[in-house]
Protein backbone atom coordinates (compact mmCIF):
# COMPACT_ATOMS: atom_id res chain seq x y z
CA UNK A 1 0.00 0.00 0.00
CA UNK A 2 1.32 3.38 -0.89
CA UNK A 3 2.28 5.23 2.24
CA UNK A 4 2.85 2.17 4.40
CA UNK A 5 6.60 2.78 4.30
CA UNK A 6 6.04 6.32 5.49
CA UNK A 7 3.83 5.16 8.33
CA UNK A 8 6.37 2.54 9.31
CA UNK A 9 9.04 5.24 9.46
CA UNK A 10 6.81 7.45 11.56
CA UNK A 11 6.29 4.55 13.94
CA UNK A 12 10.07 4.32 14.35
CA UNK A 13 10.45 7.99 15.15
CA UNK A 14 7.50 7.80 17.56
CA UNK A 15 9.09 4.86 19.32
CA UNK A 16 12.36 6.75 19.65
CA UNK A 17 10.59 9.89 20.85
CA UNK A 18 8.60 8.12 23.54
CA UNK A 19 11.53 5.91 24.39
CA UNK A 20 13.76 8.88 25.04
CA UNK A 21 11.68 9.64 28.15
CA UNK A 22 12.13 6.31 29.88
CA UNK A 23 14.58 4.10 27.99
CA UNK A 24 18.21 4.84 28.87
CA UNK A 25 19.36 3.35 25.56
CA UNK A 26 17.35 6.00 23.73
CA UNK A 27 18.32 8.90 25.92
CA UNK A 28 21.93 9.42 24.99
CA UNK A 29 22.65 13.04 25.81
CA UNK A 30 25.56 13.67 28.14
CA UNK A 31 25.26 16.68 30.42
CA UNK A 32 28.74 17.82 29.74
CA UNK A 33 29.70 20.94 31.66
CA UNK A 34 27.89 19.74 34.75
CA UNK A 35 28.84 16.06 34.46
CA UNK A 36 32.39 15.46 33.33
CA UNK A 37 32.77 12.65 30.82
CA UNK A 38 34.12 9.34 32.05
CA UNK A 39 37.19 9.14 29.86
CA UNK A 40 38.53 5.69 29.04
CA UNK A 41 41.91 4.90 30.45
CA UNK A 42 43.50 4.86 27.01
CA UNK A 43 42.26 8.33 26.08
CA UNK A 44 45.05 10.65 25.01
CA UNK A 45 45.13 14.32 24.27
CA UNK A 46 48.48 16.07 24.68
CA UNK A 47 51.78 14.86 26.11
CA UNK A 48 53.13 15.68 29.53
CA UNK A 49 56.43 14.99 31.25
CA UNK A 50 56.55 12.59 34.16
CA UNK A 51 58.41 13.70 37.24
CA UNK A 52 59.06 11.34 40.09
CA UNK A 53 58.42 13.79 42.88
CA UNK A 54 55.52 16.21 43.14
CA UNK A 55 57.37 18.57 45.47
CA UNK A 56 60.35 19.05 43.17
CA UNK A 57 59.00 18.49 39.65
CA UNK A 58 61.89 20.18 37.84
CA UNK A 59 64.51 18.25 39.77
CA UNK A 60 63.01 14.83 39.23
CA UNK A 61 61.98 14.81 35.60
CA UNK A 62 62.53 11.44 34.02
CA UNK A 63 63.48 13.15 30.79
CA UNK A 64 67.21 13.13 30.06
CA UNK A 65 66.92 15.31 26.93
CA UNK A 66 67.91 12.53 24.54
CA UNK A 67 65.85 14.27 21.84
CA UNK A 68 64.46 11.05 20.37
CA UNK A 69 60.87 12.27 20.63
CA UNK A 70 61.87 15.55 19.03
CA UNK A 71 63.23 13.67 16.03
CA UNK A 72 60.37 11.21 15.74
CA UNK A 73 57.50 13.66 16.26
CA UNK A 74 55.80 13.71 12.83
CA UNK A 75 54.59 17.33 12.93
CA UNK A 76 57.74 18.49 14.76
CA UNK A 77 55.97 20.10 17.68
CA UNK A 78 58.59 19.28 20.34
CA UNK A 79 61.58 21.47 21.06
CA UNK A 80 64.34 20.43 23.45
CA UNK A 81 67.52 22.12 24.49
CA UNK A 82 69.92 20.07 26.53
CA UNK A 83 71.35 21.41 29.73
CA UNK A 84 75.02 22.25 29.90
CA UNK A 85 75.42 20.75 33.35
CA UNK A 86 74.20 17.59 34.99
CA UNK A 87 71.83 17.21 37.88
CA UNK A 88 71.09 14.17 40.01
CA UNK A 89 67.93 12.36 38.99
CA UNK A 90 65.52 10.53 41.28
CA UNK A 91 68.04 7.74 41.80
CA UNK A 92 70.75 10.23 42.59
CA UNK A 93 72.67 9.74 39.39
CA UNK A 94 73.90 12.84 37.60
CA UNK A 95 72.01 13.29 34.36
CA UNK A 96 71.65 15.78 31.62
CA UNK A 97 68.23 17.38 31.84
CA UNK A 98 66.17 19.44 29.39
CA UNK A 99 66.97 23.11 29.84
CA UNK A 100 64.09 23.90 27.51
CA UNK A 101 61.32 21.46 26.73
CA UNK A 102 58.48 23.00 24.76
CA UNK A 103 55.48 21.43 23.09
CA UNK A 104 53.42 23.46 20.69
CA UNK A 105 49.90 22.21 21.34
CA UNK A 106 48.66 24.25 18.42
CA UNK A 107 50.50 21.80 16.18
CA UNK A 108 50.45 18.54 18.17
CA UNK A 109 48.18 15.90 16.66
CA UNK A 110 48.04 13.63 19.72
CA UNK A 111 49.47 10.68 17.85
CA UNK A 112 51.36 9.27 20.83
CA UNK A 113 54.47 8.46 18.83
CA UNK A 114 56.63 10.42 21.30
CA UNK A 115 55.35 8.14 24.06
CA UNK A 116 56.06 5.02 22.06
CA UNK A 117 59.62 5.93 21.17
CA UNK A 118 60.67 7.27 24.58
CA UNK A 119 63.09 4.76 26.09
CA UNK A 120 62.83 6.33 29.57
CA UNK A 121 59.03 6.44 30.01
CA UNK A 122 59.47 10.13 30.54
CA UNK A 123 56.71 11.46 28.31
CA UNK A 124 53.13 10.28 28.53
CA UNK A 125 49.75 11.36 27.25
CA UNK A 126 47.55 13.63 29.29
CA UNK A 127 43.77 13.62 29.32
CA UNK A 128 42.98 17.27 29.89
CA UNK A 129 40.93 18.57 27.00
CA UNK A 130 39.36 21.72 28.45
CA UNK A 131 42.07 24.01 27.20
CA UNK A 132 40.28 26.45 24.93
CA UNK A 133 41.90 29.87 25.20
CA UNK A 134 41.59 33.33 23.78
CA UNK A 135 45.25 33.73 22.92
CA UNK A 136 47.32 31.56 20.70
CA UNK A 137 51.01 32.28 21.07
CA UNK A 138 51.37 32.42 24.82
CA UNK A 139 48.75 29.93 25.91
CA UNK A 140 49.30 27.08 23.50
CA UNK A 141 53.08 26.77 23.74
CA UNK A 142 53.65 24.68 26.83
CA UNK A 143 57.03 24.84 28.49
CA UNK A 144 58.77 22.49 30.87
CA UNK A 145 57.09 23.84 33.99
CA UNK A 146 53.63 23.47 32.54
CA UNK A 147 54.34 20.03 31.13
CA UNK A 148 55.78 18.44 34.24
CA UNK A 149 53.29 16.38 36.20
CA UNK A 150 54.05 13.93 38.98
CA UNK A 151 53.97 10.18 38.62
CA UNK A 152 50.98 10.04 40.97
CA UNK A 153 49.01 12.04 38.41
CA UNK A 154 50.04 9.54 35.75
CA UNK A 155 48.79 6.75 37.98
CA UNK A 156 45.54 8.62 38.32
CA UNK A 157 44.80 8.84 34.62
CA UNK A 158 46.34 5.64 33.21
CA UNK A 159 46.47 3.27 36.22
CA UNK A 160 47.16 0.02 34.35
CA UNK A 161 49.82 1.47 32.10
CA UNK A 162 51.47 3.37 34.94
CA UNK A 163 51.66 0.26 37.09
CA UNK A 164 53.36 -1.59 34.26
CA UNK A 165 55.80 1.25 33.72
CA UNK A 166 56.65 1.41 37.42
CA UNK A 167 57.17 -2.33 37.59
CA UNK A 168 59.43 -2.20 34.57
CA UNK A 169 61.43 0.71 35.90
CA UNK A 170 61.79 -0.96 39.29
CA UNK A 171 62.98 -4.16 37.60
CA UNK A 172 65.45 -2.20 35.51
CA UNK A 173 66.72 -0.36 38.53
CA UNK A 174 67.09 -3.56 40.48
CA UNK A 175 68.94 -5.22 37.63
CA UNK A 176 71.15 -2.17 37.35
CA UNK A 177 71.90 -2.29 41.08
CA UNK A 178 72.74 -5.97 40.92
CA UNK A 179 74.97 -5.32 37.97
CA UNK A 180 76.56 -2.43 39.79
CA UNK A 181 77.18 -4.67 42.80
CA UNK A 182 78.63 -7.32 40.57
CA UNK A 183 80.73 -4.68 38.90
CA UNK A 184 81.81 -3.37 42.27
CA UNK A 185 82.81 -6.87 43.29
CA UNK A 186 84.65 -7.27 40.03
CA UNK A 187 86.21 -3.90 40.59
CA UNK A 188 87.33 -4.92 44.05
CA UNK A 189 88.82 -8.06 42.60
CA UNK A 190 90.38 -6.01 39.86
CA UNK A 191 91.68 -3.55 42.41
CA UNK A 192 93.31 -6.41 44.26
CA UNK A 193 94.86 -7.48 41.04
CA UNK A 194 95.77 -3.91 40.25
CA UNK A 195 97.63 -3.66 43.50
CA UNK A 196 100.10 -5.95 41.87
CA UNK A 197 99.73 -4.49 38.43
CA UNK A 198 99.42 -0.75 38.55
CA UNK A 199 97.14 1.51 36.49
CA UNK A 200 94.31 -0.76 35.54
CA UNK A 201 91.30 1.20 34.25
CA UNK A 202 88.20 1.00 36.35
CA UNK A 203 85.35 -0.74 34.56
CA UNK A 204 82.56 1.49 33.50
CA UNK A 205 79.42 1.23 35.58
CA UNK A 206 76.90 -0.75 33.56
CA UNK A 207 74.09 1.59 34.54
CA UNK A 208 75.82 4.23 32.47
CA UNK A 209 75.28 2.24 29.32
CA UNK A 210 71.53 2.27 29.81
CA UNK A 211 71.25 5.95 30.44
CA UNK A 212 73.88 7.27 28.12
CA UNK A 213 72.53 7.67 24.60
CA UNK A 214 72.44 11.30 23.63
CA UNK A 215 71.65 12.08 20.10
CA UNK A 216 72.42 9.79 17.25
CA UNK A 217 72.45 6.39 18.94
CA UNK A 218 69.34 4.28 19.14
CA UNK A 219 67.57 3.65 22.41
CA UNK A 220 69.70 1.46 24.58
CA UNK A 221 67.11 -1.03 25.77
CA UNK A 222 64.05 -1.02 23.55
CA UNK A 223 61.02 -2.07 25.46
CA UNK A 224 59.83 -5.55 24.55
CA UNK A 225 56.69 -5.33 22.47
CA UNK A 226 54.68 -7.41 24.88
CA UNK A 227 55.20 -4.81 27.56
CA UNK A 228 53.92 -1.96 25.46
CA UNK A 229 50.76 -0.84 27.23
CA UNK A 230 48.01 -3.37 26.97
CA UNK A 231 45.38 -0.96 28.07
CA UNK A 232 41.86 -0.86 26.89
Amino acid sequence: MLGSGLLQGLAVTAKNFVGSFHDPARYTTVEYPEVKPALPEAYRNFPFLVSENATDPMGTLRCVACQICEKECPPQCIYIEKSKDKKPDAAGKPQIYPAIFAIDTSVCMSCQICVEVCPFDAIKMDQVFEIATTTRFEALLLNREQLAKPNSYYHGIHPTEAAEVDARLAADRKAAEEKAQAAAAAKAAAAAAAAAKAASPAPKAPDESRRSPQGEGGPPTPKPQSERGAVS
Partner: protein, 226 residues
Protein backbone atom coordinates in the same frame (compact mmCIF):
# COMPACT_ATOMS: atom_id res chain seq x y z
CA UNK B 1 48.59 -14.53 -14.32
CA UNK B 2 51.47 -14.43 -16.74
CA UNK B 3 54.78 -13.17 -15.49
CA UNK B 4 55.98 -9.77 -16.62
CA UNK B 5 58.53 -11.38 -18.92
CA UNK B 6 55.85 -13.44 -20.63
CA UNK B 7 53.73 -10.34 -21.10
CA UNK B 8 56.71 -8.49 -22.54
CA UNK B 9 57.45 -11.30 -24.97
CA UNK B 10 53.86 -11.47 -26.08
CA UNK B 11 53.80 -7.71 -26.57
CA UNK B 12 57.03 -7.78 -28.54
CA UNK B 13 55.55 -10.43 -30.81
CA UNK B 14 52.46 -8.28 -31.29
CA UNK B 15 54.29 -4.92 -31.60
CA UNK B 16 57.60 -5.73 -33.26
CA UNK B 17 59.01 -2.21 -33.20
CA UNK B 18 58.23 -1.48 -29.57
CA UNK B 19 60.97 -0.72 -27.04
CA UNK B 20 60.02 -2.55 -23.88
CA UNK B 21 62.09 -3.05 -20.80
CA UNK B 22 61.29 -4.84 -17.58
CA UNK B 23 61.95 -2.64 -14.56
CA UNK B 24 62.81 -5.08 -11.83
CA UNK B 25 61.67 -4.43 -8.28
CA UNK B 26 64.34 -5.70 -5.89
CA UNK B 27 62.08 -5.50 -2.84
CA UNK B 28 60.12 -8.40 -1.31
CA UNK B 29 56.92 -7.22 -3.03
CA UNK B 30 58.43 -8.24 -6.39
CA UNK B 31 55.94 -6.16 -8.34
CA UNK B 32 57.95 -5.65 -11.49
CA UNK B 33 57.17 -2.94 -13.99
CA UNK B 34 57.22 -2.64 -17.75
CA UNK B 35 58.78 0.47 -19.25
CA UNK B 36 57.01 1.49 -22.46
CA UNK B 37 58.13 3.74 -25.25
CA UNK B 38 55.97 6.75 -26.05
CA UNK B 39 55.16 5.67 -29.58
CA UNK B 40 53.48 2.38 -28.74
CA UNK B 41 52.17 3.16 -25.25
CA UNK B 42 48.56 3.81 -26.19
CA UNK B 43 48.35 0.80 -28.51
CA UNK B 44 49.91 -1.49 -25.93
CA UNK B 45 47.56 -0.19 -23.25
CA UNK B 46 44.58 -0.86 -25.49
CA UNK B 47 45.90 -4.35 -26.20
CA UNK B 48 46.37 -5.10 -22.50
CA UNK B 49 42.84 -3.88 -21.79
CA UNK B 50 41.16 -5.96 -24.47
CA UNK B 51 43.37 -9.04 -24.52
CA UNK B 52 41.13 -11.94 -23.44
CA UNK B 53 43.84 -13.60 -21.36
CA UNK B 54 44.96 -10.54 -19.44
CA UNK B 55 41.83 -8.35 -19.66
CA UNK B 56 43.36 -5.57 -17.57
CA UNK B 57 40.13 -3.63 -17.58
CA UNK B 58 40.83 -1.40 -14.61
CA UNK B 59 43.64 1.08 -14.16
CA UNK B 60 43.42 1.70 -10.45
CA UNK B 61 46.36 3.90 -9.69
CA UNK B 62 48.26 6.49 -11.69
CA UNK B 63 51.06 8.40 -10.12
CA UNK B 64 54.20 10.31 -10.88
CA UNK B 65 57.68 9.90 -9.50
CA UNK B 66 60.34 12.54 -9.68
CA UNK B 67 63.85 11.24 -10.28
CA UNK B 68 66.19 14.21 -9.94
CA UNK B 69 69.62 14.26 -11.46
CA UNK B 70 71.96 12.15 -9.44
CA UNK B 71 75.70 11.98 -9.34
CA UNK B 72 76.76 8.38 -9.24
CA UNK B 73 80.25 7.43 -8.17
CA UNK B 74 81.26 4.14 -9.62
CA UNK B 75 84.21 2.33 -8.19
CA UNK B 76 85.92 -0.11 -10.51
CA UNK B 77 88.49 -2.42 -9.02
CA UNK B 78 91.08 -3.68 -11.39
CA UNK B 79 94.11 -5.71 -10.62
CA UNK B 80 97.31 -4.49 -12.15
CA UNK B 81 99.93 -7.21 -12.46
CA UNK B 82 103.13 -6.22 -10.83
CA UNK B 83 105.81 -6.05 -13.50
CA UNK B 84 108.34 -7.16 -10.93
CA UNK B 85 106.47 -10.42 -10.66
CA UNK B 86 105.05 -9.84 -7.17
CA UNK B 87 101.38 -10.09 -6.19
CA UNK B 88 99.01 -8.13 -8.42
CA UNK B 89 98.07 -4.69 -7.13
CA UNK B 90 94.42 -3.81 -6.87
CA UNK B 91 93.73 -0.34 -8.16
CA UNK B 92 90.43 1.41 -7.55
CA UNK B 93 89.36 3.89 -10.15
CA UNK B 94 86.44 6.13 -9.30
CA UNK B 95 84.41 7.55 -12.10
CA UNK B 96 81.75 10.14 -11.61
CA UNK B 97 78.77 9.90 -13.82
CA UNK B 98 75.77 12.22 -13.94
CA UNK B 99 72.61 10.18 -14.13
CA UNK B 100 70.10 12.37 -15.93
CA UNK B 101 66.86 13.03 -14.12
CA UNK B 102 63.42 12.30 -15.45
CA UNK B 103 59.82 12.23 -14.46
CA UNK B 104 58.12 8.87 -14.43
CA UNK B 105 54.44 8.03 -14.59
CA UNK B 106 53.38 4.70 -13.13
CA UNK B 107 50.13 2.93 -13.94
CA UNK B 108 48.82 0.03 -11.85
CA UNK B 109 46.53 -2.22 -13.86
CA UNK B 110 44.22 -4.85 -12.45
CA UNK B 111 41.63 -7.12 -13.98
CA UNK B 112 38.20 -6.97 -12.42
CA UNK B 113 37.01 -9.73 -14.67
CA UNK B 114 39.76 -12.21 -13.83
CA UNK B 115 40.69 -10.79 -10.45
CA UNK B 116 44.41 -10.62 -11.10
CA UNK B 117 47.08 -7.95 -11.09
CA UNK B 118 48.91 -5.73 -10.79
CA UNK B 119 50.65 -5.17 -14.08
CA UNK B 120 52.68 -2.02 -13.75
CA UNK B 121 53.29 0.20 -16.75
CA UNK B 122 55.88 2.96 -16.64
CA UNK B 123 56.40 5.92 -18.91
CA UNK B 124 59.39 8.20 -18.63
CA UNK B 125 59.93 11.73 -19.86
CA UNK B 126 63.11 12.73 -21.62
CA UNK B 127 64.23 15.11 -18.89
CA UNK B 128 62.77 17.30 -16.17
CA UNK B 129 62.71 20.64 -17.98
CA UNK B 130 61.51 20.77 -21.56
CA UNK B 131 60.82 17.22 -22.75
CA UNK B 132 58.17 16.47 -20.13
CA UNK B 133 55.49 14.99 -22.34
CA UNK B 134 54.20 11.43 -22.28
CA UNK B 135 51.19 10.00 -24.11
CA UNK B 136 47.97 10.02 -22.13
CA UNK B 137 46.22 6.75 -21.41
CA UNK B 138 42.91 8.45 -20.58
CA UNK B 139 41.38 7.35 -23.92
CA UNK B 140 42.00 3.77 -22.84
CA UNK B 141 41.01 4.03 -19.18
CA UNK B 142 38.76 6.84 -17.99
CA UNK B 143 40.21 6.26 -14.52
CA UNK B 144 43.34 8.09 -15.63
CA UNK B 145 41.49 11.33 -16.29
CA UNK B 146 41.75 12.98 -12.89
CA UNK B 147 44.88 11.15 -11.87
CA UNK B 148 46.82 12.29 -14.92
CA UNK B 149 45.61 15.82 -14.26
CA UNK B 150 46.97 15.45 -10.77
CA UNK B 151 50.34 14.27 -12.07
CA UNK B 152 50.36 17.26 -14.41
CA UNK B 153 49.49 19.59 -11.57
CA UNK B 154 51.97 18.34 -9.00
CA UNK B 155 54.82 17.02 -11.16
CA UNK B 156 54.52 18.98 -14.37
CA UNK B 157 54.21 16.06 -16.75
CA UNK B 158 52.12 16.98 -19.78
CA UNK B 159 49.96 14.23 -21.22
CA UNK B 160 49.59 14.33 -24.98
CA UNK B 161 46.03 13.42 -25.89
CA UNK B 162 44.47 14.19 -22.51
CA UNK B 163 41.03 15.72 -23.11
CA UNK B 164 41.10 18.26 -20.28
CA UNK B 165 44.58 18.91 -18.99
CA UNK B 166 44.27 21.63 -16.33
CA UNK B 167 45.51 22.06 -12.81
CA UNK B 168 43.33 20.06 -10.48
CA UNK B 169 44.47 20.57 -6.90
CA UNK B 170 46.31 23.88 -6.96
CA UNK B 171 44.76 27.07 -8.28
CA UNK B 172 45.07 27.94 -11.94
CA UNK B 173 47.61 30.73 -11.65
CA UNK B 174 50.02 28.64 -9.60
CA UNK B 175 53.47 28.56 -11.14
CA UNK B 176 55.37 25.65 -9.66
CA UNK B 177 55.14 21.88 -9.39
CA UNK B 178 55.10 21.18 -5.68
CA UNK B 179 55.70 17.44 -5.66
CA UNK B 180 59.04 17.74 -7.42
CA UNK B 181 61.98 17.08 -5.18
CA UNK B 182 63.55 20.46 -5.85
CA UNK B 183 60.41 22.45 -5.10
CA UNK B 184 61.02 25.38 -2.77
CA UNK B 185 57.94 26.39 -0.87
CA UNK B 186 57.07 30.04 -0.30
CA UNK B 187 58.61 31.57 2.78
CA UNK B 188 55.80 32.22 5.22
CA UNK B 189 57.53 31.17 8.42
CA UNK B 190 57.20 33.69 11.19
CA UNK B 191 56.18 31.86 14.31
CA UNK B 192 57.99 28.58 14.70
CA UNK B 193 58.41 27.88 18.40
CA UNK B 194 59.61 24.30 17.94
CA UNK B 195 61.86 24.31 14.88
CA UNK B 196 64.59 21.92 13.94
CA UNK B 197 66.26 20.88 10.77
CA UNK B 198 64.98 22.56 7.65
CA UNK B 199 62.26 24.44 9.52
CA UNK B 200 64.85 26.04 11.78
CA UNK B 201 66.83 27.17 8.75
CA UNK B 202 63.73 28.78 7.29
CA UNK B 203 62.64 30.32 10.57
CA UNK B 204 66.08 31.84 11.16
CA UNK B 205 65.59 34.19 8.23
CA UNK B 206 62.92 35.92 10.27
CA UNK B 207 64.93 36.21 13.47
CA UNK B 208 65.90 39.76 14.39
CA UNK B 209 69.56 40.68 14.21
CA UNK B 210 71.11 39.72 17.53
CA UNK B 211 71.55 42.61 19.91
CA UNK B 212 75.16 42.91 21.07
CA UNK B 213 74.73 42.46 24.80
CA UNK B 214 71.06 42.14 25.59
CA UNK B 215 69.51 38.68 25.79
CA UNK B 216 67.55 37.54 22.78
CA UNK B 217 63.90 38.56 22.86
CA UNK B 218 61.53 35.77 23.64
CA UNK B 219 57.78 35.59 23.49
CA UNK B 220 57.41 33.23 26.37
CA UNK B 221 59.21 33.69 29.64
CA UNK B 222 62.29 31.52 29.49
CA UNK B 223 61.88 28.65 31.90
CA UNK B 224 63.83 29.11 35.07
CA UNK B 225 66.87 26.95 35.01
CA UNK B 226 66.67 24.76 38.02
Amino acid sequence: MESIEQIRDRLLARFPGAQLAVVANPGPAAQHGLLLDHEHAAAIALFLRDDPVLRLDQCTNVTGIDWPEKEIVETVKSSVPDPAGGPAKIVETKTKRLQPGCLEVVYHLYSVQHGHGPVILRLRTGNRTDAVSVPSLTPVWRACEFQEREVFDLFGVTFAGHPDLRRILMWDGFKDFPMRKDYVEPDDYEWEPTPHGAVLEKAKVHYPAPAPAAPAPTAVPPPAAG
